[in-house]
C-alpha cells in the first residue's frame, strides 16, 4: 500500500494555513474533470458499440433540428453554470490566499533572488543563504526582490508561488502550521542552474525558533535600525521629518495605507510603491505636494540599501496598518 501511495500521492502534505483551502478546491476541480472525462469516454464507448456499422445500420438516421437546438443550448447553459461555480471558487480562495495579513505579530523577511540562490534577511539583521528559519504558527511576510532575471518563489507544501521580478518589490506571505523542513524551488526558468536554485524552509516550534534567533552571532544591526541609520546619512529627514511637513509627506503610518495622488487616483503604499518613490519620486506625486522637489536616489542606493530603507519605513507604520 505504501509502495503504491508513495509515487502517486497527488499533492505534497499540506503545511500552511491556506493549503487546506487550496487542496479542497484542487480536489473539487479534479473530481469535475474526472467525471466529465469519464462521461465522455463512456459515451464514446457506448456509441461505438451500439451504433457500430453493420448490415442494417449502414447509414446514420439524422437528428431532429428542434432536439439539436434544445440540447445544444441546454449544454451551453449547463457548462456555463458549472464553469461559473469553478471560477467563483477559484477566485474566492485566491482572495483569501493573496490578502496579506497584518498585525504586530507579523514577521517580515526580506528575500533576495539571484542566479542561482536565495538569500534571506531577518528583522534582527540576521542573514542566511539557502535556508530560511521561521517559527510555526506565525504569519511570515516576505518582501521579494531579484537582482537579475525573473525568479519565482515556490514552496509546494505551502501552495505558495510568487514571481520575483527585477525592478519590483513583491510581497507574499505564509503561516506554516507544522514544524519540518520544506522545499523551496525557483519555478520560473532563470538560466543554466535553474534546476538547482532550491532552498529549505525550516519551520520550528516558536521556542526553538527563539533559541535559534538568540544564537546568531551575526554582528549586523537589525534591518530597521540599519535603515534608520541610512535614512539619516542620506538626510531624507531634511524634508520628511515631522516639522517640515509642507515640503514632503510624512512617513509615519504610511506603509500599507492607500495614498491619494495629485491626479486624484489612489495607490497602495506597499513595498513596491516605497521602492518606486525612492528611485523615481516623480512617478507618483502625493496630493497637496509638488513634483520635482525630491531628487532621485537611483544610483545612490543599491538594492540591499533599498531593502533597509523600506524596512525602516515599514517599521514606522502603526500596528493596525492595513495589508498591502
Amino acid at each position: 500500500m505504501t509502495l503504491l501511495a508513495m509515487p502517486f500521492e497527488v499533492l505534497p502534505a499540506a503545511a500552511s494555513a491556506t493549503s487546506g483551502a487550496v487542496d479542497l478546491v484542487v480536489f473539487l476541480v479534479f473530481a469535475v474533470i474526472g467525471l466529465v472525462s469519464l462521461g465522455v469516454l463512456l459515451a464514446m464507448v457506448v456509441l461505438v458499440v451500439r451504433n457500430r456499422r453493420r448490415p442494417g445500420n449502414l447509414t446514420g438516421r439524422g437528428h431532429d433540428p428542434a432536439t439539436i437546438w434544445k440540447t445544444e443550448l441546454g449544454w451551453c447553459a449547463l457548462t456555463a453554470v458549472v464553469f461559473l461555480c469553478l471560477f467563483t471558487l477559484g477566485a474566492v480562495t485566491f482572495d483569501r490566499i493573496e490578502r496579506v495579513p497584518t498585525g504586530p505579530d507579523v514577521l517580515d523577511v526580506a528575500v533576495t533572488a539571484k542566479r542561482w540562490m536565495w538569500s534571506f534577511q531577518h528583522p534582527s539583521g540576521r542573514r542566511e543563504l539557502s535556508q530560511l528559519h521561521v517559527p510555526a504558527g506565525r504569519v511570515v511576510r516576505l518582501h521579494l526582490s531579484s537582482e537579475d532575471v525573473i525568479h519565482s518563489f515556490y514552496v509546494p507544501a505551502f501552495r505558495l508561488k510568487q514571481d520575483v521580478v527585477p525592478g519590483w518589490l513583491r510581497t507574499a506571505w505564509f503561516r506554516a502550521t507544522a514544524p519540518g523542513t520544506y522545499a523551496l524551488a525557483c519555478a520560473e526558468y532563470c538560466g543554466t542552474e535553474h534546476a538547482l536554485m532550491r532552498a529549505d524552509v525550516v519551520v520550528m516550534e516558536p521556542h526553538v525558533y527563539d533559541h535559534w534567533l538568540a544564537q546568531g552571532d551575526d554582528p549586523r544591526p537589525p534591518l530597521a535600525a540599519a535603515g534608520r541609520a541610512l535614512f539619516q546619512k542620506l538626510d531624507c529627514g531634511a524634508c520628511h521629518e515631522t516639522r517640515l511637513r509642507r515640503r514632503a509627506p510624512p512617513l509615519e503610518g504610511l506603509y500599507g495605507r492607500p495614498v491619494t495622488l495629485r491626479d486624484g487616483s489612489s495607490v497602495l503604499a506597499d513595498d513596491d510603491y516605497l521602492r518606486r518613490s525612492i528611485l523615481r519620486p516623480d512617478a507618483d506625486i502625493v496630493a497637496d505636494y509638488q513634483g520635482g522637489v525630491m531628487p532621485t536616489y537611483a544610483g545612490l542606493v543599491d538594492d540591499d540599501e533599498l531593502l533597509l530603507l523600506v524596512a525602516y519605513i515599514r517599521s514606522l507604520a502603526d500596528a493596525e496598518g492595513v495589508s498591502p
Binding site: L47, N51, R53, G60, R61, E72, G191, E193, A195
Partner: protein
C-alpha cells in the same frame, strides 16, 4: 525538381510544406528524445544543464513555430481549401509559394542559430533573461520565428480572400464544410495576432542590441510588458494550433458516423467564438507574475467563457455519433482519441484557469502535461487523423488499414503513459524546465520516459506504411470512404486545376444518408 520549386499549384505547395514540416517534426522529436533520456535519471548526467536548456528551448521553438502552428493550415488547409470550395487554386497562388519560401528561410535561420550554439531562453523568450542575460543566439532565432510568422500571415490572408471570393456557385456560407469554417477562424487569428508577436520579437532584438529600455528594468523597461505582448499573441496561437484540428475532427466524425454533424451552426459559430474570445484571456498566463488582482479575476473569468464554445464542440461530436453508423477506421480512431484527450486537456486547462489552483500549478509539470495533452494528444491526433483520411485523395493509394489501426492504438497508449505521469509530477510540485530533479520524482519521470519510447514507435510506423502504400497500395478510387464534400468528386489525386468542370453546389455539405457507400477495404464488413 525545378517544376516543384516554382510551382504555384496549391496541392504541390501543400506537399512542399508537408515535406518541410515532417523534417522539422523529426528534428523536434529527436530533441525530445534526448530530453526524455536525460530525465530518466534524477541527476543531470547525459548532457550538461546548459545543453539541456538549449534542448528544451529548441524543441519548443521548432515544435510550436515550425510544426504545430503551420501544420494543418499549410498542409491540409492548403491542399483542401480550394478543393472544398470547388476552386481551381487559392486566390493568390504566387503569394502561396512565397509563403513557403519565407517559411523555409525562417527555418534555416533558426537552424543556423541552433548550429551556431543554440538558444536557451525557452520558447517564451521571457525578458530580461532574453534581452540581457542569455549569451545564446537570441537575435538569429527571433528573426527566424519572425519570418515563420510572416509566412503564416501570408497564408492567413490567402485563405480569407479565397474563402470570400472563390466559392463555387451555390456554395453559400452555411453550406461550407466545417473544416473551412475552422480554417477561416484560424486565418483571422493568424492575421490579427501574428503582427503583435512580430513586433514583440523585433523589440527583443532591438533591446538586446541597443538597451533602449523597453523590457529591461535596469534601463527603465518592464519585463511584464513583454509577457503581456507575448501572451497576447501566444494565447490566440494555441487556438491557431487547435482550431484546424477541431475542423478536421468535424469532418471525420460525420463521415465515419454516416451522419450529418450534430448542430452544424453551433460548431461553425463556436469556431468564431473561440477565435474572438481567445484574444481576451492572455492574462491567465500571468496570475502569479504580479498583474493586478482585478486583472487576474477578469482573465480567469474570461478563460472560463472561452471553454463554453469548446464544450459545444465536444458535445456536437458525440451528438453526431448518436443515431449514426459508426465505422472504426484508422482516421476515426484518431478522431475519438482526439475527443477524449481534448476533454482531458481542456479540463485541466480549467483547473489552471482557477486562480487559487494556478498559484500552486503554474510553471510546474502540470502545465507541461496540460498543453501536451492538447497539442500532442489533441492536435497531433487530428493531424494524423486528417493525414490518413485524405491520404487516398492525395496519393491516390490506400494504405494498410491494419497497420494504421495498430499504430493509432500504440500512439494512444504511448501518449497516456508519457503525459499522465507529468500531471502528477506537477501536482507534487516539480517545476518545469529543470535539467535535474530531486530523487522523489524519479519514478514518475521514468514512467514518462518509458511512455515516450512507445510514443516514438507510434510516430515512426505511419511514416513506414504510408510510404509503402505509394508503391504497393491499391488504387484508392475517387471516393474510398464514401464521403461527401467536393474534394471527393474529383479524381485521386486531383488534376492540376482540380475539377474537370467547375462544380455547382445544390445542397448542404453533409448529406450522408444519400452519400455513396464506401469502396475502401473492409467497407462492407466491420
Amino acid at each position: 525538381m525545378k517544376s516543384w520549386l516554382t510551382t504555384t499549384d496549391h496541392k504541390r505547395i501543400a506537399l512542399l510544406y508537408l515535406g518541410t514540416m515532417t523534417l522539422f517534426f523529426t528534428l523536434g522529436g529527436l530533441l525530445a528524445t534526448v530530453i526524455r533520456v536525460e530525465l530518466a535519471t534524477a541527476a543531470s548526467d547525459l548532457v550538461t544543464a546548459e545543453t539541456y536548456n538549449r534542448l528544451f528551448t529548441l524543441h519548443g521553438v521548432i515544435m510550436v513555430f515550425f510544426f504545430l502552428i503551420p501544420s494543418i493550415p499549410t498542409f491540409l488547409g492548403n491542399y483542401l481549401l480550394p478543393l472544398m470550395l470547388g476552386a481551381p487554386d487559392l486566390a493568390f497562388p504566387r503569394l502561396n509559394l512565397a509563403s513557403w519560401y519565407v517559411f523555409v528561410a525562417g527555418g534555416l535561420l533558426t537552424l543556423t542559430a541552433m548550429i551556431a550554439g543554440g538558444l536557451d531562453t525557452g520558447w517564451t523568450f521571457y525578458t530580461p533573461y532574453s534581452t540581457t542575460f542569455s549569451d545564446s543566439h537570441v537575435v538569429l532565432a527571433v528573426l527566424g520565428v519572425f519570418l515563420a510568422g510572416l509566412s503564416s500571415v501570408f497564408t492567413g490572408i490567402n485563405f480569407i480572400v479565397t474563402t470570400h471570393r472563390l466559392r463555387a456557385p451555390g456554395l453559400t456560407w452555411m453550406r461550407l464544410p466545417l473544416f473551412v469554417w475552422s480554417l477561416y477562424a484560424t486565418s483571422l487569428i493568424l492575421v490579427l495576432a501574428t503582427p503583435v508577436l512580430a513586433m514583440t520579437l523585433l523589440l527583443v532584438a532591438i533591446e538586446r542590441g541597443l538597451q533602449i529600455g523597453i523590457f529591461d528594468p535596469e534601463v527603465g523597461g518592464s519585463p511584464l510588458l513583454f509577457q503581456h505582448f507575448f501572451w497576447f499573441y501566444s494565447h490566440p496561437a494555441v487556438y491557431i494550433m487547435i482550431l484546424p484540428g477541431m475542423g478536421v475532427i468535424s469532418e471525420l466524425i460525420p463521415c465515419f458516423s454516416r451522419n450529418r454533424p450534430f448542430g452544424y451552426e453551433f460548431v461553425a459559430a463556436s469556431s468564431l467564438a473561440i477565435a474572438v474570445f481567445g484574444f481576451l484571456v492572455w492574462g491567465h498566463h500571468m496570475f502569479v507574475a504580479g498583474q493586478s488582482y482585478f486583472a487576474s479575476v477578469v482573465f480567469s473569468f474570461l478563460s472560463f467563457a472561452v471553454a463554453v464554445p469548446s464544450g459545444v464542440k465536444v458535445f456536437s461530436w458525440l451528438g453526431t455519433m448518436h443515431r449514426g453508423s459508426v465505422w472504426l477506421t484508422t482516421p476515426m480512431i484518431y478522431a475519438l482519441g482526439f475527443v477524449a484527450l481534448f476533454t482531458i486537456g481542456g479540463g485541466t486547462g480549467l483547473a489552471l484557469a482557477m486562480l487559487a489552483v494556478d498559484v500552486h500549478l503554474h510553471d510546474t509539470y502540470f502545465v507541461v502535461a496540460h498543453f501536451h495533452t492538447i497539442m500532442v494528444g489533441g492536435m497531433l491526433m487530428a493531424y494524423l487523423g486528417g493525414l490518413h483520411f485524405w491520404w487516398p485523395k492525395i496519393s491516390g493509394r490506400l494504405y494498410s488499414e491494419r497497420w494504421g489501426r495498430i499504430a493509432a492504438y500504440i500512439l494512444l497508449i504511448g501518449f497516456l503513459l508519457t503525459f499522465l505521469p507529468q500531471f502528477l509530477l506537477g501536482t507534487q510540485g516539480l517545476p518545469r524546465r529543470t535539467a535535474s530533479y530531486p530523487p522523489e520524482y524519479q519514478f514518475l519521470q521514468g514512467l514518462s520516459s518509458a511512455g515516450a519510447t512507445i510514443l516514438a514507435v507510434g510516430y515512426v510506423l505511419p511514416g513506414i506504411y504510408l510510404l509503402a502504400s505509394l508503391v504497393r497500395g491499391r488504387p484508392a478510387g475517387d471516393n474510398p470512404w464514401g464521403a461527401t464534400g467536393l474534394e471527393w468528386q474529383t479524381t485521386s489525386p486531383p488534376p492540376p486545376h482540380n475539377f474537370a468542370a467547375p462544380p455547382v453546389v445544390t445542397d448542404d455539405p453533409y448529406d450522408y444518408p444519400r452519400a455513396p457507400q464506401p469502396t475502401a477495404i473492409g467497407a462492407g464488413h466491420v
